[in-house]
């Protein structure tokens, strides 16, 4: 099969040597590793279709990968399988300034999409933490979120069309540039968040927005997490929808500051990072109201950033939160439980209690505004006794999130990391429906097998 692959995509685009393929054995998820049989770099949808046809003849599993920054093991290879790495599909095909759309190939990085839009005065809001290197194909496959989710939603809200290669090698286009389009089933949405299990995303048509005229960032510090949570509830109750409403606890704060040196206060128990954007008068008004609300609900300090550069430094520092936490212990396990935002303060309290009860170290940060929490366990995978306690703690956190009407994953996907909890969240009927769809589109089960469910 390797020789046939080399004929299809060219020998330099097929890797099989141990030194070449070993660095493709993992993505951004801790503790998951599996060496593939080969890594293939196709040039376009036609080559991908040919590879998929070949895979179905040889019954070889295919795992699609971009730059491997996923956080649920979605692009971790399958034993004996081939990794289909789409980084060569990196062309920006069309920026349509009349319809405010952008057509790109799956391997284009999120940062490049943001920059391309920004250069034309346009705005692509989804900004996952790894946006500097994550690819849009992966963003769509995982339906990635980011810091701006509260006001602007997630990747799904910006996808107007997709080019998909199906398991049998058929290439189809789903969607259009029309704002309104109800022709047929909405199959496009079926593939968003499908984690590479239903087809290979090769092109994406994105919706863009006008770039907001102004933005203002505020940083509020608190002596207790409860006071920070109260401020968030007050902001939402005042009918203000900031673009970003992030929080960091004390541990996260210290690690981020240690890396980024942006002047974060080290003595606070929690900080809120709030950004409002839009028309300059509206931004000014909202920023003033947020500042008042923060002070009224116990903020020890509230600081407004002086300029865009300072605001950028703060949000960039926030994006590094997860990786910065790796400074403390050898193994860093990032979770992604999400609850209705009214339940968030309760959930944070529960995480703290679980950490104390099981004697595990958990730092917490996340998107306060949309209820998306990132409890991060700091541990050492070589310590089996500690790892058992970690597993128990995580189990309880998942259970509690579900009891509060939440979800096991807000933006990272199920992949390998959370599949054990999916049935419990969905219920038997929905879970069976998922598998039925999978069987219909991928009867041989060769596309990313073992991800989401077994």
């Amino acid at each position: 099969m390797i020789q046939e692959l080399a004929i299809l995509v060219g020998a330099p685009n097929v890797l099989t040597e141990p030194e070449d393929i070993l660095p493709y054995a993992f993505d951004g998820t801790a503790g998951l590793k599996q060496r593939p049989r080969a890594v293939v770099f196709p040039a376009d949808a036609a080559e991908i279709a040919a590879v998929l046809r070949l895979a179905s003849i040889h019954r070889v599993p295919i795992v699609v990968r971009g730059n491997g920054t996923g956080l649920s093991g979605g692009s971790v290879p399958v034993a004996g399988g081939v990794v289909l790495c789409l980084t060569r599909l990196n062309r920006i095909i069309e920026l349509d300034q009349q319809n405010l759309t952008l057509l790109i190939e799956a391997g284009v990085t999120t940062q490049r999409i943001f920059d391309t839009a920004a250069a034309a005065g346009l705005f692509y809001p989804p900004d996952p933490g790894s946006m500097k290197i994550s690819t849009i194909g992966g963003n769509v496959a995982e339906n990635s979120g980011g810091l701006r989710g509260l006001k602007y939603g997630v990747t799904r809200d910006y996808v107007m069309g997709l080019e998909i290669v199906l398991a049998d090698g058929t290439v189809c286009w789903l969607g259009s540039k029309c704002v309104k389009d109800v022709a047929g089933y909405n199959l496009r949405d079926l593939f968003i968040g499908s984690e590479g299990t239903l087809g290979v995303i090769t092109r994406v048509l994105l919706r863009l927005l006008p770039m907001p005229a102004a933005r203002q960032t505020l940083l509020a510090t608190y002596a207790t997490m409860a006071a920070a949570a109260e401020t968030v509830s007050a902001i939402i109750a005042a009918r203000i929808v900031p673009c970003t409403l992030e929080f960091l606890d004390r541990k996260t704060l210290r690690c981020v500051e240690d890396y980024a040196h942006v002047g974060l206060p080290l003595d606070a128990e929690a900080v809120l990072l709030v950004e409002t954007d839009g028309h300059s008068a509206a931004v000014e008004d909202e920023a003033a109201r947020i500042e008042t609300l923060a002070r009224r609900h116990g903020a020890t300090t509230v600081k407004r950033t002086a300029d865009a550069a300072e605001a950028d430094r703060l949000t960039t520092a926030r994006r590094s939160a997860f990786s910065s936490l790796a400074r403390l212990r050898p193994t860093t396990i990032l979770e992604d439980v999400t609850v209705p935002r009214s339940e968030l303060a309760r959930m944070i309290g529960f995480v703290q209690a679980v950490a104390a009860r099981h004697r595990v170290e958990i730092a917490t940060f996340g998107h306060f505004g949309d209820g998306n929490l990132h409890p991060t366990v700091l541990t050492d995978e070589r310590d089996t006794e500690e790892m058992r306690r970690v597993e128990q703690a995580l189990h309880e956190i998942f259970e509690h999130a579900l009891q509060l009407g939440g979800t096991i994953t807000g933006e990272h996907g199920v992949g390998l990391a959370k599949k054990a909890f999916l049935r419990q969240q969905l219920g038997d009927a929905s879970y069976a429906l998922l598998r039925q769809i999978k069987r219909t589109l991928d009867p041989a089960g060769l596309l990313n097998p073992g991800k989401i469910f077994d």
């Binding site: 890797l15 951004g28 050898p330």
Partner: protein, 450 residues
């Protein structure tokens, strides 16, 4: 060499390898990953290979060895890494293990490594003698004649391609320009030692002279031993840690750190290594304490000037106009010194700092990388030159001899239109000197418009 476990990577504290949580944030900053798009050529890919070798999941092969030498060692990944992975240690250990196992060994490579690393760069007097011979060859016109007669075509291909990059050796070396002890101008506030380097000593001794000048101008009594051993960075970066330790011990003996307020280095590449003597000699009972003290005393010249509150000059340097700053990798990534050189440039009258895109990207010099990996080095050089030219700057400031020569080679023969390449400290020294020439400041072109 004593090795615990099966190899040096295994002997390393495992948590250094574990520190990488493969988030991928290093990828966009890595020049070799940008060139090939292959994970193997990325920092996290290389760390995965090292970890596999430590775990005995991968045999240390020739391919592994080549990969470790394909890495520039520019350390851009360490600036991007939120997790604080100590890539410098991993990289040096991996290269040392590659050398220990000899997977890349062949007679030609072994001879060159022996001649350069073990002989030439451990004997400062011999190095100066070879430098003197090279100067004679260049100054007598023999080099020009040899080039005209195309005698250089008789050289083996690799050498022939490298020949045009032969640096221009200066007539007088550092010890002929600098007295062993030079007093502070005015009150003595500090006592410092200056390290003159190897390449800098032969090719850019004026940088060393300027370093001493600006230090004296700012209340420092300057000690500059006329014969100094190499700092050992060349050895450590190329997997030869034993000679690196030997040289470190010799330098510590020559300049006991407790006798100075600071030990000054003006070359980014040397400084990055000099700072880590504590680490290098940690297992040497006789030197560990002194090495730890040494690391506390080492200062990059820009860092030191800003720390002691250097005096702002009120005359312009010899060249005025726009300046752009190219950051030496081992100054900005290795030593995290970015702000200070700019702070110095901004205080000099008559010049205006214009930032360059990708100022922190490697120029391809990377120690001896331009010799070992000419293709990638030349790609990076051209990329760097494009970005430098876009600034339209008349002056390119940079604080490392490798970068200086790499950019100069790329720009080619100098003309009136070629930007001047200069160490920030040279500009500062010129400005101080011009103050004394007053009241008639001399401009080499029209004075800057205010």
């Amino acid at each position: 060499m004593k090795v615990a476990g099966n190899n040096l990577l295994q002997a390393l504290d495992y948590s250094v390898l574990q520190q990488c949580m493969h988030c991928g944030l290093c990828l966009p900053t890595c020049p070799t990953f940008t060139e090939t798009g292959r994970e193997r050529n990325s920092p996290r890919g290389r760390i995965a290979l090292m970890r596999a070798v430590a775990d005995c999941d991968l045999t240390l092969s020739r391919v592994f060895g080549e990969e470790m030498y394909y890495c520039l060692g520019c350390l851009a990944c360490t600036s991007a890494c939120p997790a604080g992975v100590d890539y410098a240690t991993l990289f040096e250990t991996a290269r040392a293990e590659v050398e220990r196992r000899g997977v890349l060994a062949n007679p030609q490579r072994n001879f060159i490594r022996w001649a350069v690393i073990r002989v030439l760069f451990t004997r400062p007097r011999l190095l100066r003698f070879v430098g003197r011979l090279l100067w004679c060859y260049q100054a007598s016109g023999l080099q020009a004649t040899a080039r005209q007669l195309r005698l250089t075509h008789l050289l083996p291909r690799r050498l022939r391609e490298l020949e045009p990059q032969t640096p221009h050796v200066q007539r007088r070396f550092s010890h002929q320009l600098i007295a062993p002890v030079e007093p502070a101008r005015g009150d003595r506030r500090h006592r410092v030692a200056v390290l003159t380097g190897c390449v800098q000593d032969l090719v850019l001794p004026d940088v060393n002279r300027a370093t001493v000048d600006v230090l004296r101008e700012n209340g420092c009594e300057v000690h500059t031993p006329p014969v100094q051993p190499c700092c050992g960075s060349l050895h450590a970066h190329n997997g030869d840690l034993e000679p690196a330790r030997m040289l470190a011990r010799r330098l510590i003996d020559l300049l006991p750190p407790d006798r100075f307020d600071a030990i000054i280095t003006n070359a980014g590449g040397c400084g990055s290594h000099l700072r880590h003597y504590d680490h290098l000699l940690a297992d040497d009972p006789a030197y560990a304490t002194r090495a730890a003290f040494w690391s506390k005393r080492i200062r990059d010249i820009h860092e030191w000037l800003v720390e002691i509150g250097f005096r702002r000059p009120d005359a312009p340097p010899l060249t005025v106009g726009t300046v752009t700053y190219h950051e030496s990798c081992h100054l900005c990534h290795g030593q995290k010194i970015s702000r200070e050189p700019r702070e110095i440039l901004k205080t000099i009258p008559g010049i205006e700092l214009h930032e360059c895109v990708e100022a922190t990207w490697c120029c391809g010099s990377a120690g001896i990388y331009n010799i070992t990996q000419p293709k990638t080095a030349s790609w990076l050089q051209q990329r760097k030159l494009r970005n430098l030219r876009k600034t339209g700057a008349r002056i390119i400031a940079t604080a490392n001899p490798g970068c200086h020569l790499q950019i100069a080679n790329g720009l080619g023969a100098s003309s009136n239109l070629t930007p001047r390449i200069v160490h920030p400290v040279v500009l500062l020294a010129e400005a101080y000197r011009q103050e004394m020439m007053r009241p008639a400041p001399s401009y080499c072109s029209a004075p800057p418009r205010k």
